[in-house]
């Protein structure tokens, strides 16, 4: 794969020889996220802005009765700038909307924007330093006031205000905004920015009304009555809300899309557990839709057999992977374990890392443990089942043994390999979660047959993923030889891929806030990441990201396991509109029920 090849493919899309979806799939095979592929097409002017939305049949607004949704984690607030979890973002999304949302093929779809900025319509500047957004002229707040450019400017100001302490501040702090007319704003970037669709897009981009929040843009942000009685632009308007329990809404007669929404009332009930949520939809049919049914696949299959509902699989960007520690977790340097001053005694040998990579039976883990909740992958930047031609080693215990033999790791009397006083005995940690523990066991068995002993450790998720500086068991401390967890890019891979940059290494000096948790450092990777940050030519930028993926996966310090799609349960007659690249309720206005 090279730049010329990419350009040829973009030409094919432009000429209509290749579909956009096929293009996204092909580049995904090279380790690129789907949003990245879409941005690429948009920047080269090859993309028609047509989104591939599922069919929407209702011919008038309303008449669909009640829509009842079950979340096993309850929403606790309804201000999108305060949301610190997906449940709160999703609940806010019922009432508030961004300018544009990420569709299921990861293309941008205009919501409050009149159109998606592009080179042809002049929305994007050729130097990559600015983007111009135009609002739909007919968008209104639930109280009837029109949505204007002043609202956008207010949101920018509100999110950036440190006194407000907004969780969306990261998307707005490096952008400047200028009002061009009542419906148009221009965003200016300090440096050429290839990925412009961050502010005002997706979950971080939900827009709140200036006329109701203007008095609360400061330390009193918490006191705004509209924090709990939202007035937005969304398809449903507010009825009542009990934090941590129930959210109720009704049809918004002013909604800006024809014939939408379909349902007259909406109810989102929170709390409980995932299994009974799946039951309430699939088995008793009490609810129409259950969010994120994190339940073992065979249980879901059994519930589906009742015939009332189905499980929906929504592919997204999340990847489950194993990290092999670059540093030595068992040696202290100035009181710091896993310090950058050390190297791992065994994993510093490429042969051991290669052997570890060959001992991971992805196919079995997918088939027997995760089922529909995971599909084997060898790329870290990936959202399809396509295997990269560049990276990844096939599962083979025999090959792993050969590699270790050749590298001089000889079996001891207990069957464990050792060389120069270093034994291949590793501590392998992950968060407590049944499929993860079962995957650990599968890998342990394979490793044993190659003369590697794994000690398995499970840490409660709330401890493992916490930022608690005092706790030795957090994933960012990484006081183990190997660990397994999942994360994924949202939109552009720039921030996501910074988790392998040397300057992001988690150390005591930065209170383990650094994102590079396996402490991998590679000069070529750093250079590629820095170059991608300012690279304006989208095709060159893609090539850089593919190189980064291959570098980190090719080092075998990072062993990707599975792409993790989202699972949800829906009644058979409910037609949802979901995207794995945006919030669950991002396209709620397009949900309907077949008569």
């Amino acid at each position: 794969m090279d730049e010329a090849h990419l350009r040829a493919m973009i030409e094919e899309v432009r000429a209509g020889v290749m579909t956009r979806r096929a293009f996204a799939r092909r580049v995904a095979g090279w380790g690129l996220t789907a949003p990245m592929a879409t941005q690429l097409l948009a920047l080269t002017g090859a993309a028609p802005a047509a989104a591939q939305a599922p069919a929407y049949r209702p011919t008038r607004r309303g008449g669909g009765g009640a829509l009842k949704i079950l979340y096993w984690q309850a929403a606790t607030l309804l201000n999108p700038h305060f949301a610190i979890g997906t449940t709160n973002s999703d609940a806010s999304r019922v009432f508030y909307e961004p300018l544009a949302a990420w569709a299921r093929d990861a293309s941008l779809v205009p919501i409050l924007a009149a159109e998606i900025p592009s080179l042809e319509n002049g929305g994007l500047s050729p130097d990559g330093r600015s983007v111009t957004w135009k609002l739909k002229p007919n968008a209104r707040w639930h109280d009837g006031a029109p949505v204007t450019a002043d609202d956008l400017i207010f949101n920018w100001d509100y999110a950036r205000n440190p006194a407000v302490a907004a969780s969306t501040s990261g998307s707005y702090r490096d952008v400047a905004i200028t009002k061009l007319d009542d419906l148009t704003v221009r965003l200016d970037f300090a440096q050429p920015t290839a990925f412009w669709a961050d502010a005002f897009v997706g979950n971080a981009g939900m827009i709140i009304p200036r006329h109701l929040f203007a008095a609360f843009n400061g330390p009193n942000a918490r006191d705004a009555p509209t924090n709990f009685r939202p007035v937005g632009t969304g398809p449903y308007r507010f009825v009542s809300f009990t934090p941590g329990d129930m959210l109720r809404a009704e049809l918004n007669p002013l909604y800006h899309q024809d014939n939408q929404p379909h349902f007259d009332t909406l109810e989102i009930k929170g709390g409980g557990d995932a299994v009974s949520a799946a039951r309430a939809v699939l088995q008793t049919g009490d609810y129409d839709y259950a969010w994120n049914v994190l339940v073992e696949d065979d249980i879901l299959t059994r519930l589906e057999a009742v015939g009332r509902g189905r499980v929906e699989v929504t592919p997204g960007g999340s990847t489950e992977f194993i990290q092999l520690n670059v540093t030595d977790p068992n040696r202290e340097v100035d009181g710091e374990r896993s310090s950058l001053a050390t190297t791992h005694p065994a994993f510093s040998d490429p042969a051991v890392r290669q052997a570890m990579a060959m001992l991971v039976d992805r196919a079995a883990i997918e088939r027997f443990i995760f089922g529909r909740a995971g599909s084997a992958t060898v790329n870290i930047l990936n959202n399809s089942r396509f295997t990269s031609p560049n990276a990844g080693l096939p599962f083979s215990i025999q090959r792993a043994n050969e590699v270790l033999d050749a590298a001089g790791w000889a079996r001891g009397r207990d069957g464990i390999r050792a060389k120069g006083g270093t034994r291949l005995k590793f501590l392998f940690q992950t968060s407590v979660n049944a499929p993860r523990q079962r995957s650990q066991a599968v890998i342990k068995q394979a490793a044993q047959r190659a003369g590697i002993e794994l000690d398995l450790k499970g840490v409660t998720a709330s401890v493992f993923f916490s930022a608690d500086v005092a706790n030795p068991d957090t994933f960012s401390k990484f006081y183990a030889d190997m660990q397994m967890y999942a994360n994924g890019p949202s939109g552009d891979p720039q921030r996501y891929m910074s988790q392998f940059a040397s300057w992001e290494a988690a150390t005591r000096a930065n209170a383990w806030q650094g994102r590079n948790i396996m402490r991998w450092r590679n000069a070529e990777y750093d250079a590629a990441l820095r170059a991608a940050d300012v690279e304006l030519d989208p095709v060159k930028r893609v090539a850089l990201f593919i190189r980064m993926n291959d570098l980190v996966v090719g080092s075998h310090h990072l062993i990707p396991l599975l792409a993790r799609p989202g699972l949800s349960a829906a009644l058979n007659n409910l037609r949802t509109h979901r995207s794995g690249w945006d919030g669950t309720l991002a396209f709620l206005s397009g949900w309907w029920r077949e008569a």
């Binding site: 971080a204 608690d468 960012s476 949202s490």
Partner: protein, 319 residues
């Protein structure tokens, strides 16, 4: 009496302070972070999370945080939840009605079972009725509520499809329909809690009545020719109930505290589920407020039980 009350109330102050210090320290030592989800979201830079922590004062030393909490608590400010940014007292008040209805009805159900069954069993010891009641009581309090709850859901919601297993605090219907819907969804949680509590109390009532029924004055009453029914009601039960009253009074704080497991299973939006979600989210102000209110209630009802003693048994004096 007034002096006694005053003394008891004064003693309560240091115990409440001690409780709050212990609670706060334990919460500060517990691992976790209210912004855990931000930590695993690569789209959000770590500085955002640090700024949030700083703005809520989570990074200050424990003793400073404790005194800040104490001074605002003394001024009647309970603080606000880290996750929902709502005032804690408001959160608790929202949950109180449902908690009182569900847990209160279950306690009434428990009493309605325990009193007659316990008294009947004790007045006919080792009869068939006593044996059956004893066995059922044993089974009742041996089965944990999460098990009986799931069992009832499997039977009545999934197999028979009679009762809903998702509790909805707000119901749209009016009139009889409203009542019917509420009763339908409350039957299972109330039964689960009531039967569990009732089983334990039945055994207690039985042994309390057995203790009294053998006393000489009961025999005297019977010898005087007083009808058996009156002997039991007037002379036995009234005296036997003194320890039962204490037990029930001490159980009252639980009515306000909710039932964590049962509320979780049936999705009842009570104080128990508020507490458990706050614990899971490391939402210190909410955990502090709920547990502290609970501590106050325990102390208050302890005092109340002591006062009721004197009323039930004039021999007890408060000098």
């Amino acid at each position: 009496m007034a002096q006694y009350l005053l003394r008891r109330l004064l003693i309560a102050i240091p115990s409440l302070l001690g409780i709050s210090v212990i609670l706060f320290t334990v919460l500060a030592l517990a691992p976790g972070d209210p912004f855990e989800e931000l930590a695993t979201n690569p789209a959000i830079p770590p500085e955002v999370r640090l700024a949030l922590r700083a703005s809520l004062g989570i990074d200050d030393p424990v003793h400073i945080r404790y005194f800040r909490w104490l001074t605002s608590m003394l001024q009647g400010e309970w603080g606000f939840s880290f996750v929902s940014r709502v005032d804690v007292d408001q959160l608790i008040l929202q949950r109180l009605p449902v908690t009182l209805i569900v847990i209160g009805s279950s306690q009434i159900l428990a009493l309605a079972i325990a009193l007659p069954v316990g008294i009947m069993a004790a007045t006919r010891p080792y009869s068939i009725f006593d044996q059956v009641a004893n066995t059922l009581a044993f089974v009742g309090f041996s089965l944990p509520t999460f098990f009986t709850g799931l069992l009832l859901i499997m039977l009545f919601s999934i197999h028979l499809d009679w009762l809903p297993f998702v509790y909805r605090a707000q119901i749209d219907a009016t009139g009889w329909q409203w009542w019917w819907e509420h009763i339908k969804q409350s039957i299972m949680p109330i039964t689960v809690l009531g039967l569990f509590q009732g089983a334990a109390w039945t055994r207690f009532v039985r042994s309390a009545v057995l203790d009294v029924v053998r006393l000489d004055y009961v025999t005297t009453a019977r010898a005087k020719g007083i009808p058996e029914r009156r002997v039991i009601n007037r002379h036995v039960v009234r005296n036997a109930l003194i320890p039962v009253v204490t037990l029930v009074a001490l159980q009252m704080p639980a009515v306000f505290g909710g039932a964590i497991v049962t509320e979780q299973i049936f999705r009842v939006p009570g104080i128990g589920s508020l507490l458990i979600s706050a614990v899971l989210a490391n939402d210190t102000p909410v955990i502090m407020a709920v547990t502290f209110v609970f501590a106050c209630l325990v102390i208050f009802f302890n005092l109340l039980a002591d006062v009721i003693y004197g009323w039930l048994d004039p021999r007890i004096s408060y000098s």
